[in-house]
C-alpha cells in the first residue's frame, strides 16, 4: 500500500520510495527515508494535501506525491 491509502490517525513505516528526481529527493530530504515512521494527522479541508508527523515535526504532502511512498501499516 502507499501513503495515499492511509486514513487520518493511522501510522505506517516507509518501505520504499518510487518515482525520481526533484520530488523524490525533496521527500527524502525532509526525512521520509526507508524505515521512517509516519503518522497521518489530517487531510486538508478541500481533500488534498495530507498533513503528516515525521521525525517529530509536521509536514504536508500532496496525495499525488504520497502515492510514490510505499508503506506498511503499523498496528
Amino acid at each position: 500500500m502507499t501513503l495515499k491509502d492511509l486514513k487520518p490517525g493511522q501510522s505506517a513505516v516507509v518501505k520504499k520510495l518510487t518515482g525520481e528526481g526533484a520530488v523524490k529527493r525533496r521527500i527524502m530530504d525532509m526525512g521520509l527515508t526507508k524505515g521512517t515512521e509516519i503518522l497521518v494527522r489530517k487531510v486538508a479541508p478541500l481533500g488534498d494535501p495530507l498533513e503528516l508527523t515525521v521525525r517529530g515535526y509536521e509536514l504536508s504532502v500532496r496525495k499525488a506525491d504520497a502515492e510514490m511512498i510505499e508503506v506498511e501499516e503499523k498496528v
Partner: protein, 737 residues
C-alpha cells in the same frame, strides 16, 4: 581584513531573528542577482570588519530548488570564512540533516542550537558536548527570541572565522560507500580545491550533474559509472537515496546518544491551534475571516485613509489644517508658490509640479497602504499561519500554476496592485512566485473602479453587472494565464514539489515584523520609485508639449505629442471598436494611475470643472462618452482593455522590483497587454457579429482563431518538470560569476 560568515539553516529555524540580532540595523537587503530570491547582508554588531551573509532558508544542498542552488553556489564559489549554522533545537533530526552537508564543505562550521529555552521547558535534555563531538564542530545553545547566548555566539564565530583551522569531518558513511567515495576522491584529487574534494566526491557519487558541469575539464570527464552502479546493485537503491538514508541513520545515532526526551509526548500548543485553524470545517471560514480582517484594515480603512490623506491633502491642491491650529500648505501648493516667487517659467513649473512632484506623490502615496499590509503579512508569515494558508488553499491554486499563498497578493490586489505584487514574495517557489507577480494586477484595483463607473454609467445605464463582470474577467484572466503559461517553455522548466513543513506556531518579535515591513517598503521606494518617477515625467512631457516643443495649457492637450501619438495608433485599436485617438490617449495616461483615464476624458471633452474630480463622480461627462463610443460593445471592449493591460507605472515598478530581471518584467507587461488586446478584440468582433453591429471581416476570423488558440492552450497536455530549467541554471551561474 574583511571576514565573511555565512548564516545557513532550515526555514523557520529562527534565522531572520538571529540575523537581526547579529547585525542590528546594519543591513543591506536585495536579491540574489537575476533571481527572485532575497539576499541579505549586514555587518556584525561590534565588529565592523565582519560581514554576515544571510543565505536562503534551505533543507538540503540538493540540486533541485533555486534556493538550494543559490546557497550552495555561494558556499562553493565565495568560500566564506565560516558557516554559522542555526539549528532548531525542537526539531533536531531534520535540522541536523543540513548540518551534515554543511560540514562537508571544508569551511569551519559553528552550530547555534536555537530555541533551547523551549527544549528545556519541554523537559528535554540535550548534551551539547556530545553533539559537538559527534558533529566535529563548536556547538553553542542560544535563544534568538530571548536574546540569550548571542554575545557568546558572536565571539565564538569571529574566533572560528579568523582561526583558519582545517575543519574536521567526523561523519563517515558505511564502509562500502566510503570505499567508493575514496576511489572517486583519488580520481579527482589535484583537479579540485583540496578542501572541497570530499564534498565533490559525494556530489559526484550522487550523480549531481550540476556540480559535475562546474568542475574543471579533467574532473568533469572521469568515468565513475562502474563505481557507483556497483554500490547501487549491492544496496538495491539509487546512489542519491543511499546517501540520504545513511545521513539520517547517522543523525539518529547522534540523537540517541546526545538527546534525551524526558518531556511528555502529548498535544503541543501548535497541535491545539491547528485543531481549529486547519480543521476540516473551520479552516475555510476562519481563513475568510482573517483575510477579511487584513483587507478591511489595510485596504478599506486605516491604510486607505492614510493613503488618501497623502494623495489628497499632503499632495493635494489646497492648504490643510494642522489639528485646527494653523494652515499648512500642501506640497504642490508650497512648491508652486516657491516657484512663482522665483519667477520660474510656466513650463518648468509644470515639469516640477505635474511631473516630478506628482511622480514622487505617486510613489509616496502608496506607502501607507503598503506598510499596513506588509505589517500583517510579516505577522502572518512570522507566526506560521502562511504555511497553513498554502496547506488549505493548495488544491485550488495549483491547477493554475499558482500557490495557495497566491491568494493573499490577489486579494490585496483588489485594493491596490502594488502591495499585491510585492506580497508575492511569500510564495514559496520561484515559478509560482513569477506567475503570481504576472497575474495579480488582472484583478481590478480600486483605481480602476472610476473607469468601470464611467463606462457603466455612460453606456450601460449604471447596471451592476458591469462591475461584477470586471472582477469575473480579472479572475478568468488569472486562471487562463495560469493554465496556459505553466505549459510554456518559460515556466515548464521548474519543478514545484509541494512538500512543505508546517512549522510550529510562535509569536514573532515586534522588531522583526517592523523590520520586514520597513525593508519591503524601502525596497519599493528605492527600486520602483525611479521607474515611476521617470515614466510620470515622460507622460507629462508628451501630454503637455506639441511637436514644436511648445508648452501647452491643459485644455490644449489635443494638440500635444501624446495626441499625435494616439492618432498614429488609431489603426491598431480600430479592430477593438475604439480606434479613436481620445480613447487611446486616455488609455496611455491611465498608465500613470488608472483613474486618470476618467480625468483625461474630462480634459479632452472640455469638461468645464476640475477634471481631476471626475474620478469621484463622472456623471457630467456620461453623455459625451456615450456619443463618443457609440455602442456599448465598443465601450465594454475599451473597459476590458484598460482592466487587463499593463498596470500603472507604480505597479510596473513593483513588478520590476520583484521579478528582478528586465526580460521577465517585459514578458509580464507584454503578456498583460497581449491578453488585453486579444480579449477586447474577441469581445468586440464576436460580440458585434452576434448583435449585428459588426460585419464579418478579417478581424472576425482573427477573433475566432484566437478563441481556438485559447482553447488549445487550455487543453493541451502537460507534464510537470523535474529539474531546474537550463535558463534558470544559467541565471544562477551568471549571478555567481
Amino acid at each position: 581584513m574583511a571576514v565573511t560568515i555565512a548564516l545557513a539553516g532550515n526555514p523557520n529555524a529562527g534565522k531572520t531573528t538571529l540575523f537581526n540580532q547579529l547585525t542590528g540595523s546594519n543591513q543591506y537587503v536585495g536579491n540574489w542577482p537575476g533571481v527572485t530570491v532575497e539576499k541579505k547582508e549586514g555587518k556584525l554588531k561590534g565588529h565592523k570588519d565582519v560581514i554576515i551573509a544571510d543565505l536562503p532558508g534551505i533543507y538540503s544542498l540538493s540540486p533541485y530548488t533555486l534556493e538550494e542552488v543559490v546557497a550552495r553556489n555561494y558556499l562553493i564559489n565565495n568560500r566564506p570564512n565560516a558557516i554559522l549554522n542555526i539549528v532548531d533545537g525542537t526539531n533536531l533530526e531534520r535540522n541536523l540533516y543540513l548540518s551534515t552537508q554543511l560540514k562537508e564543505l571544508g569551511v569551519p562550521v559553528i552550530m547555534a542550537i536555537n530555541m533551547m529555552d523551549v527544549v528545556t521547558k519541554n523537559g528535554d535534555v540535550l548534551n551539547l558536548e556530545a553533539l559537538g563531538k559527534a558533529m566535529g564542530c563548536k556547538v553553542i545553545s542560544i535563544s534568538a527570541l530571548r536574546n540569550q547566548g548571542i554575545d557568546e555566539l558572536i565571539s565564538l564565530a569571529v574566533a572560528e572565522a579568523n582561526s583558519g583551522a582545517e575543519p574536521a569531518i567526523e561523519h563517515r558513511f558505511s564502509e562500502n560507500v566510503e570505499k567508493a567515495l575514496s576511489e572517486i576522491q583519488s580520481k579527482i584529487t589535484g583537479e579540485v580545491p583540496e578542501a572541497l574534494t570530499r564534498f565533490f566526491s559525494i556530489k559526484l557519487f550522487e550523480r549531481d550533474d550540476k556540480i559535475r558541469n562546474e568542475l574543471p575539464e579533467k574532473a568533469k570527464n572521469v568515468d565513475l559509472e562502474s563505481i557507483i552502479s556497483e554500490i547501487e546493485k549491492e544496496e538495491d537503491d539509487d546512489a542519491e537515496s543511499i546517501i540520504t538514508n545513511e545521513r539520517y541513520k547517522y543523525i539518529q545515532s547522534i540523537i540517541s546518544s546526545a538527546y534525551e526526551k524526558r518531556g511528555q509526548t502529548g498535544l503541543t500548543v501548535s497541535d491545539k491551534i491547528d485543531a481549529i485553524v486547519t480543521n476540516r470545517f473551520l479552516a475555510l471560514p476562519l481563513f475568510a475571516l482573517i483575510m477579511f480582517g487584513v483587507y478591511y484594515i489595510s485596504i478599506s480603512t486605516v491604510g486607505t485613509k492614510m493613503t488618501d490623506w497623502v494623495n489628497d491633502v499632503l499632495f493635494g491642491n489646497n492648504p490643510w489644517s494642522f489639528f485646527g491650529l494653523f494652515d499648512v500648505p500642501s506640497i504642490p501648493g508650497a512648491v508652486t508658490s516657491l516657484l512663482e516667487s522665483m519667477n520660474v517659467s510656466e513650463a518648468l513649473q509644470g515639469l516640477v509640479i505635474d511631473g516630478i512632484v506628482a511622480g514622487v506623490g505617486a510613489v509616496i502615496g502608496f506607502l501607507p497602504q503598503m506598510l499596513t499590509f506588509f505589517l500583517f503579512l510579516a505577522f502572518l508569515e512570522g507566526c506560521g499561519y502562511m504555511a497553513r494558508v498554502a496547506f488549505i488553499m493548495d488544491r485550488v491554486f495549483r491547477k493554475f500554476g499558482l500557490s495557495g499563498k497566491s491568494f493573499i497578493p490577489m486579494l490585496i490586489g483588489t485594493g491596490c496592485g502594488v502591495p499585491g505584487v510585492m506580497g508575492s514574495r511569500t510564495v514559496e517557489n520561484e515559478r509560482d512566485r513569477r506567475m503570481t507577480i504576472m497575474t495579480t494586477t488582472f484583478i481590478p484595483c480600486s483605481a480602476k473602479l472610476p473607469v468601470i463607473a464611467l463606462l457603466a454609467g455612460a453606456l450601460f445605464n449604471n447596471s451592476a453587472w458591469v462591475g461584477w463582470s470586471a472582477y469575473f474577467l480579472g479572475v478568468c484572466a488569472i486562471v487562463f494565464s495560469g493554465i496556459v503559461l505553466k505549459k510554456t517553455k518559460m515556466f515548464a522548466g521548474q519543478p514545484a514539489p509541494f512538500v512543505m513543513e508546517l512549522p510550529a506556531y510562535h509569536m514573532p518579535r515586534p522588531i522583526d515584523i517592523l523590520k520586514s515591513m520597513g525593508e519591503r517598503g524601502m525596497s519599493f521606494v528605492k527600486k520602483a520609485g525611479t521607474v515611476i518617477l521617470l515614466a510620470a515625467i515622460l507622460v507629462w512631457f508628451l501630454s503637455r508639449f506639441n511637436f514644436q516643443m511648445q508648452y501647452l495649457p491643459e485644455e490644449e492637450m489635443d494638440s500635444s505629442i501624446l495626441a499625435g501619438f494616439g492618432n498614429s495608433l488609431v489603426w491598431l485599436f480600430a479592430p477593438l471598436g475604439w480606434g479613436q485617438w481620445k480613447a487611446v490617449v486616455a488609455a496611455v495616461t491611465g498608465l500613470i494611475a488608472k483613474e486618470n483615464v476618467v480625468g483625461t476624458f474630462g480634459t479632452l471633452f472640455n469638461y468645464a470643472g476640475d477634471a481631476s474630480e471626475l474620478a469621484d463622480d463622472s456623471s457630467a461627462i456620461w453623455e459625451k462618452v456615450r456619443e463618443y463610443f457609440g455602442s456599448g460593445l465598443a465601450g465594454y471592449s475599451f473597459l476590458a482593455f484598460n482592466l487587463l493591460c499593463a498596470p500603472c507605472f507604480a505597479a510596473i515598478g513593483a513588478i520590476k522590483r520583484e521579478m528582478n530581471n528586465g526580460r521577465w518584467t517585459m514578458f509580464a507587461i507584454g503578456w498583460e497587454c497581449f491578453l488585453a488586446y486579444c480579449v477586447s478584440l474577441v469581445i468586440y468582433q464576436i460580440g458585434g457579429l452576434v448583435t449585428g453591429a459588426v460585419k464579418f471581416n478579417i478581424f472576425t476570423i482573427v477573433a475566432f482563431l484566437l478563441v481556438a488558440a485559447g482553447i488549445w492552450g487550455l487543453l493541451r497536455p502537460y507534464k510537470e518538470a523535474d529539474t531546474l530549467s537550463e535558463k534558470e541554471e544559467r541565471a544562477v551561474e551568471r549571478a555567481m560569476a
